[in-house]
């Protein structure tokens, strides 16, 4: 055999020759799974076809020969009775790419075969359905048809189980041919042999569709790689009551709970389960004890071999179990976390494998806070459920109800969380949808424009809430007997589709925590790194600890802003002098007062590492907040890091008092931004504020500081490297532009920057970081990608500070980076 290889043939499994799907099926067969017999036409045949535009010499003979083998193996015959052999044909390139031909099922369905099948199944309706499906699938996959076929569907629905099958075949086939002719002016070959050959050629031709070519060019995949073709015998789940088909997951893909989770539909073909035409039963109830045991045993073996949860597509034909496809199971974020933790705990997966089973995005979603369960139950009991629509994008959010996109943006800009309510949504509502935390519309289904936009934005959304009556003029909403005015607080559940009156408090889901802790403990072990969380409010300290942070970082200006005292202090700096008992003693008092609660929370939470950043009057991102222009005009010396050493002493003194009041005895240090010279570091170190004063050090924010980091570190009690500030300095882009989507999104999309400085480390920055002493802490802002975590870990950094929600994803990323090396 030159061009083909049976699944059962021995030899190396080479994806370059057999393609991805083909080598998967060969491997499953070699692993001892009962796979319906089949063969692969290798990529070599494709090369010849593409060269000369015709099938290679000898291939037709080989296909005939393989067909005879399949007939022998299955005891069925191609195109005729009494047991007709039907085939599936699919493409299988060595790498997955767009534009390639998908699967065609039921090839070989001639009139004779259909009649024979009808006699075997004693059900003409089944045959009518099969014929219509085959014709539609061949039309779509091989010929490119898209239209629904209501006339054919109607004929299928009318077909009587007891009628003469030949007549039913003729009627359905003619109607399907007519629909296809109307749509494309094409025809499906009526002889099985031609169906097979044309399908094989269609696979080869699909290698050169415009999309496939473009994709290969952009991804550097050679055009001469070619695709394989997988030809496989079909097994039938819809023959009789001892047949059926199903999908099983080796664990519950929704919760992650152990145990086979699956659905089985007796007397059905695989598409029925997928299409949701009939409601399937649980495998535990629907399968016979023998079959269930076989499925469970095979599932467990496969899971152990792959170290992952698998999705198994199977068919039972006359009581015999066949495996059609085995692949890594899709799962919810909650399930991903639990599965990884369980597989780690039971030894199925080692730490490296377990950490690979959860992505940072899944972890972020799984830790996303939801409505407090008791508050939610109380809201239901109190009759605060206003309406139930269709959940279009999950998420539980509270906010004020706003009925107009312009006003939604105004309110959101003013800092409010907004739930936007609309009757219908048009493209002109987009700015309001972007600003909103949640969206509810009276019309539309889960596949409306509003739903698509909301999901693209990741915004919680309920559509089709028919009970929502909006009175635009009065700015009120009626839901049944209740009336709400714009501005009233509401709570929206984009998963369940519910809208409640009033704001509901949120909490981190408790169920996910235990599994997360197990997994993150493994990650932290491997990473050998300390992760601190940036906090501003005392209440966040416990959350940080719970997420695995070993300490916290905070900034004095942030804490003062959150306490509402910052404006007063800035006014003070503008009015008073900086000497003696002027503005600086006010700063000392304010730091003492407002940092004390945070330090008390640290003490209570057992946190013993607190790094504080000194007020930064230069930071681009707080120009307005700190009235920089006015303050530095009044006191030009404040524009430099050590321009007024007493400002640093005031903060230090305030911290000493705060720690005393709070009873905090852990490590406490103060770091000053923008220091770049060893002389500055020495001057900082020389400030003598008594033996209790926190150690002082620096935040590296400039290329000069980074290049001189070793010497700066020698004189500093603490050194942090601030990645965002450094990247801003390297790109020469004001740091505040890094805080928002625009204008950088559009700029990067235009291809004007090779690196998005908000999400990726610039290679030049990586180069600079090589000589930074490894004891330096790295301060990261916003979401941290796995690539950034891996690069920093590779460079030897072992101490990090991130925004609170990023503690877990960073630990995971660092652990993965450590274990993959």
């Amino acid at each position: 055999m030159t061009w083909t290889r049976a699944f059962t043939d021995d030899g190396p499994v080479d994806a370059g020759e057999l393609g991805g799907k083909g080598s998967g099926l060969v491997r499953m067969t070699h692993d001892g799974l009962r796979v319906p017999p089949g063969y692969v036409i290798t990529t070599g045949a494709c090369h010849v076809y593409l060269d000369r535009g015709a099938l290679p010499d000898g291939l037709e003979d080989e296909i005939r020969h393989r067909l005879a083998e399949l007939e022998a193996a299955t005891g069925k015959t191609f195109g005729i009775g009494p047991e007709p052999l039907l085939l599936s044909v699919r493409s299988g390139a060595p790498v997955s790419m767009p534009g390639m031909m998908d699967t065609v099922l039921d090839l070989g369905l001639s009139r004779e075969a259909a009649v024979a099948l009808a006699q075997r199944s004693t059900d003409t309706h089944f045959i009518a359905d099969l014929v219509a499906r085959f014709h539609a699938m061949y039309s779509e996959i091989v010929l490119g048809a898209l239209d629904d076929r209501p006339t054919v569907d109607a004929l299928v629905a009318e077909a009587d189980p007891g009628e003469e099958p030949g007549a039913a075949f003729d009627r359905i086939w003619a109607a399907a041919e007519e629909a296809l002719d109307d749509e494309l002016g094409e025809s499906v070959p009526s002889t099985p042999w031609h169906q097979l050959l044309h399908a094989v050629e269609a696979v080869f031709r699909s290698w050169n569709t415009r999309r496939a070519r473009t994709y290969r060019e952009h991804h550097g995949i050679p055009h001469d790689m070619g695709t394989a073709v997988v030809v496989q015998s079909m097994v039938f789940g819809n023959l009789d009551d001892t047949s059926g088909s199903g999908v099983a997951f080796t664990r519950d893909p929704i919760t992650g709970a152990p145990g086979l989770y699956g659905e089985y539909l007796a007397h059905s073909q695989g598409e029925d389960v997928v299409a949701g035409v009939r409601t399937p039963d649980r495998v535990q109830e629907a399968l016979s004890a023998d079959l269930l045991a076989e499925l469970e045993r095979t599932g467990a073996e496969l899971e152990a071999r792959h170290g992952d949860v698998l999705d198994i597509e199977f068919t039972v034909e006359h009581g015999v179990l066949y495996f059609l496809q085995v692949r890594s199971a899709k799962r919810t974020p909650e399930a991903a976390v639990r599965i990884a933790a369980d597989l780690l705990a039971d030894g199925t997966a080692g730490a490296a494998r377990a950490l690979e089973l959860v992505t940072a995005a899944q972890l972020r979603q799984a830790q996303r806070p939801g409505f407090d369960p008791s508050a939610l139950a109380a809201a239901r009991d109190d009759g605060r459920l206003l309406l139930t629509g269709i959940g279009a994008c999950p998420g539980q959010v509270s906010g004020e109800l706003v009925l107009d996109p312009d006003r939604a943006r105004e309110r959101a800009d003013a800092g409010a969380s907004v739930i936007l309510g609309r009757s219908v949504t048009s493209p002109a509502d987009l700015h309001g949808m972007i600003a909103a935390s949640g969206i509810v519309t009276a019309t539309g289904g889960s596949t409306s424009h509003a739903a698509v936009v909301a999901r693209a934005l990741g915004t919680a959304c309920v559509v089709g809430a028919a009970d929502l009556e909006i009175d635009d003029a009065a700015r009120t909403v009626h839901t049944g007997a209740r009336t709400l005015a714009e501005g009233d607080p509401v709570s929206l559940d984009g998963g369940s589709g519910e809208l409640f009156a009033g704001a509901l408090p949120t909490t981190t889901p408790a169920a996910a925590n235990e599994a997360m802790d197990t997994l993150l403990a493994a990650a932290a072990d491997a990473a050998g790194s300390e992760v601190l969380a940036r906090v501003t409010l005392p209440g966040d300290v416990d959350t940080a600890r719970g997420a695995g942070a070993i300490g916290v970082v905070t900034a004095i200006d942030d804490v003062l802003a959150a306490s509402g005292d910052l404006d007063r202090l800035v006014e003070m700096l503008l009015e008073k002098g900086l000497n003696g008992v002027g503005a600086l003693s006010e700063v000392r008092d304010a730091v003492a007062e407002h940092l004390a609660p945070l330090l008390a929370a640290a003490r209570d939470g057992g946190v013993e590492d607190v790094d504080v950043r000194a007020i930064d009057l230069l930071a681009d991102e707080s120009r307005e907040l700190l009235q920089q222009t006015a303050v530095t005009t009044r006191h030009p010396e404040l524009a430099l890091p050590l321009g007024v050493p007493d400002l640093i002493r005031a903060q230090r003194g305030g911290l000493v008092r705060a720690a005393g009041v709070a009873g905090y005895a852990g490590r406490l240090r103060l770091a000053v931004r923008h220091v770049s010279d060893p002389a500055e570091a020495r001057a900082l170190a020389a400030l003598d504020d008594g033996p209790d004063a926190p150690a002082v050090g620096t935040y590296l924010t400039s290329p000069r500081a980074v290049l001189g980091a070793t010497e700066l570190a020698a004189h500093s009690g603490v050194v942090w490297l601030e990645v965002r500030a450094l990247q801003a300095a390297m790109f020469g882009i004001p740091a505040r532009q890094f805080l928002t989507a625009e204008p950088l999104d559009a700029y990067v999309a235009r291809g004007l920057l090779a690196v998005d400085p908000r999400h990726e480390l610039d290679p030049v920055v990586v180069h600079l970081l090589q000589d930074v002493p490894p004891g330096t802490g790295v301060r990261l802002s916003g979401t941290v990608s796995d690539e950034v975590a891996a690069t920093l870990h590779r460079l030897g950094f072992r101490r990090y500070a991130v925004d609170l929600p990023e503690v877990r994803p960073l630990l995971l990323g660092l652990g993965r980076a450590a274990l993959s090396r």
């Binding site: 997955s96 767009p98 998908d102 239209d147 999309r211 473009t214 952009h218 997951f249 509502d429």
Partner: protein, 206 residues
């Protein structure tokens, strides 16, 4: 109260502005195929007539814009509204639109054990099937766009926009499938749908 009707080029500019809600002259010029300078002048005229507000390089339509567009469309597109060929194609568009939105949704969410969860795009094979479907459905609009372009050439700009979005998608910029903030396939489709409704004088149902 008498509603203003617009000259055709002014209609084209204001129509795009109303679809985008906020846009600069350059963005409108790209979509309409007009010169940026021409668009700028027309935006100023529209602002003088109380139909748009221009501030800081961007324009916004006023509340008077929609009625003016509706009144103008009723006049200039009367021949389209009476064209049976177009109307037959519009009938088919409804089906295509539903199929398109289903395809968009299957790009964003996958079914897991009977529940929809966010597509994490880890299954390239699945994603590529969806993209293929989306591309075919966009191809389905050609006949309608061509028929509309015979009445008003500006409709052919949708074909150009779809082509460049799909080309970028094939180049790996998958954000251009459904991003609401870029000229993604869904953005273009959504705007076309809205534009079509205005052209025909119909109300949006959802």
């Amino acid at each position: 109260m008498a509603v203003t009707t617009l000259a055709k080029p002014d209609y084209d500019v204001l129509n795009v502005l109303a679809l985008k809600k906020m846009a600069g002259a350059a963005a409108i010029a790209t979509v309409t195929g007009m010169e940026a300078g021409d668009v700028e002048g027309r935006l100023e005229d529209l602002a003088n007539n109380g139909l748009a507000v221009v501030a800081g390089g961007s324009a916004l339509p006023t509340d008077e814009a929609e009625p003016a567009l509706a009144a103008t469309a009723a006049g200039i597109y009367a021949p389209i509204r009476a064209d049976d060929d177009v109307l037959a194609l519009v009938g088919r568009f409804e089906t295509t639109n539903s199929q398109f939105l289903v395809a968009m949704s299957s790009w964003q969410q996958v079914e897991v054990g009977g529940r929809k969860v966010t597509n994490d795009h880890s299954d390239a094979g699945y994603d590529e099937k969806v993209i293929t479907k989306i591309e075919r459905l966009v191809g389905r609009l050609e006949a309608l766009l061509d028929a509309l372009a015979e009445h008003d050439a500006r409709f052919s700009t949708y074909s150009t926009r779809f082509a460049s979005a799909l080309e970028a998608v094939d180049a790996g910029d998958h954000d251009l499938i459904s991003s609401p903030t870029r000229d993604s396939v869904h953005t273009i489709w959504f705007e076309f749908h809205e534009d079509l409704l205005r052209t025909l004088g119909r109300e949006r149902a959802e």
